[in-house]
């Protein structure tokens, strides 16, 4: 069983890259999108088997110890596949009508789309910290061109900012990795062991704490840039608002989480090396709260619906980071919140993208009456925005409640107060935006488009999932969250 599952690791890693190459050769747009969906379907199936093998078995290894999959990476791989699968189906619908791609454009899109899937998979299955970094770097390079798929002044500006800011972030993260290596040279004298996460985790107590602390600072700022933590978030609203909607969905739904995943790997190592004094945790809480506050301020006065969703990403990644910083129950809540946010945010971008196509604008002042104009996408956007700000029956409310509980249990009153204040400001601001576009009379220029079964599934399945998780958490899923959280720290 272990041997077979290990082989699947190569499968999920190679299929995206092979598919990416294949996309450059295919003649027609239809066959191209079919390849895209089939490729993602294949890796999603394989990932499901891998996840089952990890959660109900033990961590998998491949290529010596270079690749491995434990509960934390298997969980993120599952979220990655979920977001990619729905976004790929959505992409076929999105590009079919309003934003027709030329053949060359479609080929480029397919190759880059699968290429970034491969790069993110590389991040998640690497045990080698250098290789993990190479994955993040290639994610940046590949996705750069996805932002400027439709060339315009704005999208080129967004591309330039994204490239410069994230490249610098990645250089800083590399400095952090070098420092981690420097702190481990005494504990792990064999060079081949030096950068393997499993080896670092085992001998964490022997690492040199002083350089490791500086290393974590570099890593937090470097990878934090890619996560979109304030004050390094400035590229994020531009890139998310200018990219085509399916690309925004994968950016927000999983790319940010992939960078945060890299940080999660360092938390247990640095914490163990510094004697569990909460060095990382305090820093994480600080950056998480800062992101929430900055996002809240910008959400209040936002007019562009995609920028609104982008600032929600800053907010929610901030919430996940804060939850990691709280530790204990917070770590569990961070895992739960990751799934909720990814599902909800990709749904939000699907709806905003399609409505934007119909209205010809993303300016919320010019898109009233979405409910009447397009009942399906309008309802989807309204409910996803409500879910994002934590309205009751949806799952995000439950995970945020757990974070509040974690903060109260550990007596982090200042963090709790800032969290609640920022969340209230977001609630007030986004609630106003959500209701102002939902009701009213749609402008005459807006062209309604009939919804198909695929569209209905794209909206209803995520909503049903969010509702279900808000009301009841299946025990196997709770087990998955707990196993993933235990990789980072103890869970009560």
């Amino acid at each position: 069983m272990t041997v077979d599952a290990g082989v699947l690791l190569y499968f999920v890693l190679l299929v995206p890259f092979l598919g990416s190459g294949l996309c450059l050769l295919l003649p027609g747009i239809r066959s191209l999108f079919a390849t895209l969906v089939l490729g993602v379907l294949g890796t999603a199936g394989a990932s499901a088997v891998l996840g089952a093998a990890v959660f109900w078995g033990r961590p998998l290894h491949a290529a010596g110890a270079w690749f491995f999959l434990d509960a934390l990476s298997a969980y993120h791989l599952a979220v990655l596949q979920l977001v990619y699968l729905s976004s790929s189906v959505f992409a076929t619908r999105y590009f079919a009508r309003e934003a027709p791609l030329s053949r060359a454009g479609a080929r480029r899109f397919g190759a880059l789309w699968l290429g970034s899937l491969g790069a993110m998979t590389l991040v998640l299955v690497s045990n080698h910290l250098g290789l993990m970094w190479v994955g993040i770097e290639s994610t940046t390079l590949v996705t750069t061109f996805l932002i400027s798929l439709h060339r315009s002044k704005q999208s080129l500006e967004a591309t330039w900012k994204y490239l410069v800011i994230c490249s610098v972030g990645i250089a800083i993260a590399f400095m952090g990795i070098l420092l981690v290596g420097a702190s481990a040279t005494r504990a792990l004298p064999t060079p081949s062991d030096l950068m393997l996460w499993t080896r670092l985790r085992e001998s964490a107590a022997l690492l040199d704490p002083a350089p490791l602390k500086i290393a974590f600072l570099f890593l937090l700022v470097g990878y934090g840039t890619k996560v979109g933590l304030a004050p390094m978030h400035t590229w994020l609203p531009d890139a998310h608002s200018q990219a085509p909607a399916p690309v925004s969905a994968i950016f927000s739904g999983i790319m940010l989480n992939t960078a945060l995943y890299c940080l999660m790997r360092y938390i247990p190592v640095v914490e163990a090396a510094t004697g569990h004094q909460g060095f990382c945790l305090r820093l994480l809480s600080l950056f998480g709260l800062a992101s929430m506050v900055v996002a809240a301020a910008f959400i209040l006065f936002q007019h562009d619906v995609k920028r609104l969703l982008a600032y929600h990403s800053v907010e929610h990644l901030g919430i996940i980071t804060l939850a990691l910083g709280l530790g204990g129950l917070g770590t569990f809540a961070a895992m739960f919140h990751t799934l909720n946010h990814s599902v909800c945010k990709s749904l939000g971008f699907f709806c905003a993208g399609r409505l934007g196509q119909m209205y010809g604008t993303h300016d919320m002042r010019h898109m009233p009456g979405t409910l009447r104009h397009s009942p399906l996408w309008g309802t989807g956007l309204l409910l996803s925005l409500l879910a994002l700000i934590g309205v009751v029956p949806f799952a995000i409310f439950m995970s945020e409640l757990q974070i509040v509980k974690a903060a109260a249990d550990s007596h982090r009153i200042a963090a709790l107060v800032v969290f609640l204040l920022a969340a209230s400001v977001v609630f007030i601001g986004a609630f106003g935006h959500a209701t102002s576009i939902a009701w009213g009379n749609p402008p005459a220029a807006a062209r309604p488009q009939p919804a198909r079964l695929t569209d209905a599934l794209l909206v209803l399945v995520p909503l049903a999932l969010l509702l279900l998780l808000g009301l009841w958490m299946p025990p196997p899923l709770r087990d998955v969250f707990e196993q993933a959280a235990r990789v980072i720290g103890p869970v009560p």
Partner: protein, 218 residues
């Protein structure tokens, strides 16, 4: 031998300061090429100081890689990009050159202080490794934020990367080969991409001043 290493690190530092001082793009690119040559020699001298047969391949790869990318290919790409977009000077940087030089001097001071705080295991080879690495990185940031032209920003990014490379050299004996290669790959591709993007920006906007990139706000 460590005297030669110190001398090389001083060359790197001086080229950093020259980059801050000059406003001519051509001179900037030449200075990065000089810095690239110095960086390529760094692993060679390090090897001559403490020869170990097992390290030979790594050293050759690092030195030839740095020479090829940092000293030849990237400057060439930058010169070509400069010709394509027909810009010569960074006329009005956000921060005047005199003030930048002052800042840069302060940053070098800060770097010596930072490096003295960090007693790193590999840095014992030369006491200048740490300060040079930090100064080069910080001066790269200074170039990134103080200059107006997209091309000078690319140079700024390169200098940041070179700082990381210097730091990497101080611990290279313990670091695996893949990590070294990672720097070069990243450098090469990033500049490639940036060059293409500059080209696109130039076509769409008819200029490459980054402060004109101000449509997206809030």
């Amino acid at each position: 031998m460590s005297g030669y290493i110190d001398a090389l690190l001083v060359v790197v530092l001086l080229s950093d300061l020259y980059l801050v001082y000059t406003s001519r793009l051509g001179a900037c690119v030449k200075a990065t090429a000089v810095q690239g040559v110095a960086l390529a020699l760094l692993p060679v001298l390090r090897f001559l100081e403490t020869p170990a047969a097992s390290e030979l391949v790594h050293v050759l790869v690092m030195a030839s890689g740095a020479l090829l990318f940092k000293a030849i290919l990237v400057p060439w790409l930058l010169f070509r990009a400069m010709r394509d977009v027909a810009t010569r000077r960074d006329v009005e940087p956000f921060v005047s050159t005199h003030l930048s030089v002052l800042f840069a001097g302060a940053l070098v001071g800060v770097s010596f202080w930072l490096a003295s705080l960090l007693a790193l295991p590999g840095v014992g080879r030369s006491s200048l490794f740490g300060p040079t690495a930090f100064s080069t990185m910080l001066i790269g940031f200074l170039l990134l934020v103080s200059r107006r032209k997209a091309l000078t920003q690319v140079v700024g990014y390169l200098v940041v990367e070179n700082g990381v490379y210097v730091f990497g050299q101080s611990v290279a004996a313990e670091m695996p080969f893949l990590v070294e290669l990672g720097i070069l790959l990243d450098l090469l591709v990033a500049v490639f991409v940036m060059g293409i993007v500059i080209h696109q920006i130039n076509r769409e906007f008819d200029h490459i001043d980054v402060d004109q990139l101000n449509l997206l706000k809030g």
